[in-house]
């Protein structure tokens, strides 16, 4: 028999062995049986997915024959502190202010903020400053680099371009519409990381794909023309006491926009400081208004195309029509009932004349509006001239505009449609107007208006943006040739009326049409009495119309008709600029 104490040692030891066996069983359970569960729990904590940002594509434009950048990227750095890690606050603050300026005590204050591990000390510091600060190896101080957009031409074409917000997403303009192409594809990392989220170098489970940079977009914009246009808009905005001025110059033969601008505008590099978001809007694309009499440049070709009127036809104009119990008359009710012709409908801007065209669509020779006329005019508005739907140009927030539905049960449908014949009760953007008239002038092809000339992929592949035909035959090919002299006649008439700025050199053709558009009250109840928008649509060319110009002048404050005194002078300035700066090829 062993002694009692040895026996007790053995009992204790036996207990110990028993407990160890329990531990081994537990280890087996945790590490072998429940391995899957704990492995999943570990990866749930450890495995994190990251994105490596792709370099955003740049935006370029034409300057003569060369292509120059309009939007570039620059890597700038955010300087931040992890306050608890800073060893010597005053010394650290002094060194930082030495490199990037600023008051050291301000930095010290930031570094003393309690209960935080992240305080931004400065934003947008340059690569050189970044390098210098990092070279000090200050504990608790670090930087984070990010691409920022830079604009070599300042605010030039800003509303066409849009900007990139702090999340790297394009907003407004091209940046928004082409965000996908410009942004590229971010790289992906799926990696086992440390607790702070930094990937651990060697791990079998790590997955990585490299980022693909965004495409370079070459716009159709002609930079010198764009710059001139913006200068003119700025001047005319003041001259016409405007509340908003939009204009565009486009090529009627392929839908390419050469220049497009609005005033007032903003500087995209300081977009954060803009308080009124309306400034971000490219109103030429986003703002649909009742265009007024410039619509007659489309009513006329529609009636000509239908064959219900002839270009040199005369008709009896009563100076007012009573439709649905309302008087339809001209904006300037001068003169008396007499015989008029198609040219004077445009030159004198006869609303009764435009209404008469709708009557001819209803019944040739008649003086009534019926659903046949309404359906065919609606068909032209929507299916030939593409109103009431966005053109699909590469811009954010494009407006579709509005065309009233041809509802036969509407008791005032006749009046409603009589109004549309001279551009009231229908809403269009400057761009829609330009694209529709382009199709008439170019022989009947509706090109989708575009701002992109070509796209260059990161691999260097150049994709030329081909003109895209949306509608094949808006009007017959000869109609443009019939409309052209009618619009040239308008310009000559205004010169005769005494608008001397409408005098153009004889080796150029210039045609146009004014619009003095009534403005509907926002909550119904008819139109404002003394408030108009001044619009203008016209062309400049040599042997044929080369540029098509649209001007929308919102509520100009100049006395006289808004179209003649608000829209027309801006058109004239733009047309003269195109001629004087040799953008137009003269007659041969």
């Amino acid at each position: 028999m062993v002694t009692q104490s040895v026996q007790r040692v053995r009992i204790i030891y036996g207990c110990l062995v028993l407990v160890i066996v329990i531990y081994v069983i537990r280890l087996f359970y945790v590490q072998v049986i429940e391995y899957g569960h704990y492995k999943a729990a570990a990866l749930n904590d450890q495995l994190k997915a990251y994105q490596i940002p792709a370099t955003r594509g740049i935006i370029e434009a034409y300057d003569g024959n060369s292509v120059v950048p309009l939007v570039l990227n620059q890597k700038l750095y955010k300087l931040y502190a992890d306050p608890p890690l800073i060893k010597n606050v005053s010394k650290t603050a002094a060194k930082i202010s030495q490199v990037i300026g600023g008051n050291p005590s301000q930095y010290e204050k930031l570094m003393h903020i309690p209960h935080t591990q992240y305080v931004v000390l400065a934003r947008k510091i340059s690569p050189a400053q970044n390098k210098k600060i990092l070279s000090f190896q200050l504990p608790g101080i670090n930087t984070l680099g990010r691409d920022y957009r830079v604009y070599p031409d300042g605010s030039l074409a800003s509303q066409v371009l849009g900007f990139v917000n702090s999340n790297g997403v394009g907003e407004y303009g091209l940046e928004q519409a082409l965000n996908k192409e410009l942004a590229g594809t971010p790289g992906r990392v799926r990696a086992v990381t440390d607790a702070a989220g930094v990937p651990l170098a060697a791990n079998k489970g790590n997955i990585q794909t490299s980022p693909v940079s965004g495409d370079t977009v070459v716009t159709t914009l002609n930079l010198p023309m764009q710059a001139q246009m913006e200068k003119i808009l700025k001047t005319d905005y003041k001259k016409t006491k405007s509340q908003g001025l939009s204009a565009l110059i486009m090529n009627p033969y392929n839908g390419q926009i050469d220049a497009m601008a609005n005033y007032p505008t903003y500087n995209p590099s300081n977009y954060q400081n803009v308080t009124n978001p309306r400034l971000f809007m490219n109103a030429a694309v986003t703002n649909a208004i009742e265009p007024g009499s410039i619509m007659k440049t489309l009513t006329t070709p529609a009636a000509l195309d239908l064959g219900v009127i002839q270009p040199n036809e005369a008709y009896y104009d009563p100076m007012h029509w009573v439709i649905n119990g309302f008087n339809v008359h001209d904006i300037k009710p001068d003169g008396s009932a007499r015989e008029q012709n198609i040219a004077s409908i445009l030159a004198l801007s006869l609303n009764t004349g435009a209404t008469w065209m709708l009557m001819q669509m209803s019944h040739v020779g008649g003086t009534q509006i019926n659903m046949k006329g309404i359906y065919s005019w609606h068909n032209y508005l929507v299916n030939h001239f593409h109103f009431g739907k966005p053109t699909g140009i590469q811009q954010g927030y494009e407006s579709a505009g509005y065309v009233p539905p041809p509802n036969p049960n509407d008791p005032s449908i006749d009046l409603r449609y009589a109004n549309t014949s001279f551009g009231q009760g229908v809403q269009v953007t400057a761009l829609q107007m330009g694209a529709a008239l382009s199709s008439v002038l170019n022989g009947g092809t509706y090109y989708q208006p575009t701002l992109v000339s070509k796209v260059i992929t990161p691999s260097g592949k150049v994709i030329v943006d081909q003109p895209k035909v949306l509608i094949r035959h808006t009007v017959k090919p000869n109609i443009g040739g019939e409309l052209e002299p009618l619009m040239e006649n308008v310009v000559k008439s205004y010169l005769r009326f005494g608008f001397s700025f409408m005098n153009f050199p004889s080796n150029y053709i210039v045609g146009g049409k004014t619009g003095t558009a009534q403005i509907a009250k926002p909550n119904g109840g008819g139109y404002y009495k003394n408030l108009y928008n001044g619009t203008y649509i016209g062309f400049v060319g040599g042997d044929r119309p080369q540029y098509l110009i649209v001007v929308f002048n919102i509520k100009p404050g100049t006395p006289g008709y808004a179209g003649s005194y608000g829209g027309q002078p801006v058109f004239a300035d733009l047309a003269h600029m195109l001629i004087n700066d040799s953008f137009v090829t003269p007659k041969t």
Partner: protein, 416 residues
């Protein structure tokens, strides 16, 4: 009669006591004991070395900071080992009062010194860059004192006396409970001390019934202590339902069992620990077993447990074969100390016990723990030279004085 005033030297009583048994001839020591400890130290150092980059990153120190400190600790522990192995065991036994005094002084210092905000418990004595955990010295001193005290009670045949044996033990328990568990709030170390004392008392022959009664009383106090303080209740709740508290109070417990479990059968490999990179708190200290388990898997854990098992088996074997009560009780104390500490630590890592901030002997980073563990092993190493070849068998107590006779065992050599 006025009590005689004694000088402190006289009180310390460094002369050999009456009951001190002279051990027999020396023989070869137990080399397995040292080998097992050496392997454990080496494993600890390798794990610390392999997670050094992670530790450097997490704690903002140099790459070799922890390795160098641990190597210094190992060198110091070698010194401690040689001191305890070479200075005769009788000298250590005689110095128990001096050691207790020193331990008490260290504890007072730890209480007096302002605390590090990172570890707000009064557990550390710091001078210069060195720091030292007072409770390790207390454990070492109590080990020698209890062994001596109980051996004396056996010799004077008063081991079952309530007044002479149980009362002083309960006073000591109470004092340690107040200071270490109460003020230093080091429940883990107190637990080790109490269990160590209890096992030594049990082996010394205190009836099981009394030990169970005391254990019951302690349990009641423990339950009261836990239920009275909200944060302790929360901890218990955390232990019982670790999964629901993973992001808050149960974070360390959760991460530990995740580390262990994600190691699987074979582990991720020496250099591939992920949990050390900021997920597992105290990766080099209290949680080193979890990191080891993540690296080496179930197979590695079995090997580690086997090495600990070897150490415990040697300690048990030495304890059995030692000729006198003091030596046997001392070795039993060491066995209890290390095994309970290891089991409490690992139990916390695998979710069997609540987490207590104590280290894994020989493996964990931390100088004090390693040095005092080595010192205790040094004592056992010395004693292993005096073991008998066979386990002593019970003798009828000598008729007159009740002393036990070891005359048949003491002089036998265990080894040649």
């Amino acid at each position: 009669m006025r009590p005689q005033r004694k000088s402190i030297i006289a009180w310390l009583d460094l002369s050999p006591g009456e009951g001190v048994v002279q051990l027999g001839r020396k023989h070869k020591p137990d080399y397995w004991l040292v080998t097992a400890c050496g392997i454990l130290l080496l494993i600890g150092l390798i794990v610390i070395y392999s997670i050094s980059p992670a530790l450097a990153l997490t704690n903002n120190v140099g790459n070799n900071y922890y390795v160098i400190k641990q190597i210094i600790a190992i060198v110091l522990s070698a010194v401690a080992f040689f001191i305890t192995a070479k200075i005769p065991i009788t000298t250590w036994r005689r110095s128990y009062k001096a050691l207790l005094l020193l331990a008490g002084f260290a504890t007072l210092l730890a209480l007096a010194i302002p605390v590090n905000p990172m570890y707000p418990a009064h557990r550390w004595v710091r001078f210069g860059g060195l720091s030292f955990e007072s409770v390790e010295l207390v454990t070492f001193a109590v080990l020698i004192w209890i062994a001596h005290f109980l051996a004396e009670r056996i010799r004077t045949n008063t081991i079952k006396s309530l007044r002479k044996t149980l009362q002083p033990l309960l006073v000591a328990l109470f004092a340690m409970g107040i200071i270490i568990a109460g003020v230093q709030s080091d429940l883990g170390s107190t637990g080790i001390l109490v269990i160590m004392m209890g096992v030594m008392a049990y082996v010394a022959g205190i009836p099981m019934k009394r030990i169970m009664m005391i254990a019951g009383a302690i349990l009641i106090v423990l339950v009261l202590a836990i239920s009275a303080v909200p944060y302790r209740r929360a901890r218990l709740e955390t232990f019982l339902h670790p999964d629901t508290n993973c992001q808050t109070t149960g974070y360390q417990a959760c991460q530990s069992i995740i580390s262990v479990g994600s190691g699987g059968l074979f582990g991720l490999g020496l250099g591939n620990s992920v949990q050390a990179y900021g997920y597992e708190p105290e990766a080099a200290n209290d949680s080193i077993f979890a990191i080891y388990a993540e690296k080496f898997g179930f197979i590695g854990c079995i090997i580690l447990v086997a090495i600990f098992g070897l150490l415990f088996a040697r300690l048990k074997s030495i304890a059995e074969r030692l000729p006198d009560d003091f030596s046997r009780l001392l070795v039993v104390g060491v066995l209890t100390w290390f095994s309970v500490q290891a089991l409490v630590n690992i139990g916390g890592m695998v979710g069997l016990l609540p987490l207590k901030g104590i280290t894994l002997p020989f493996i964990s980073y931390g100088g004090t723990s390693v040095v005092f563990s080595a010192a205790a092993i040094g004592l056992v190493y010395q004693l292993s030279q005096y073991t008998a070849l066979k386990v002593p068998t019970s003798q009828p107590p000598s008729s007159s004085d009740g002393r036990r006779s070891f005359h048949r065992n003491t002089l036998r050599r265990a080894d040649y």
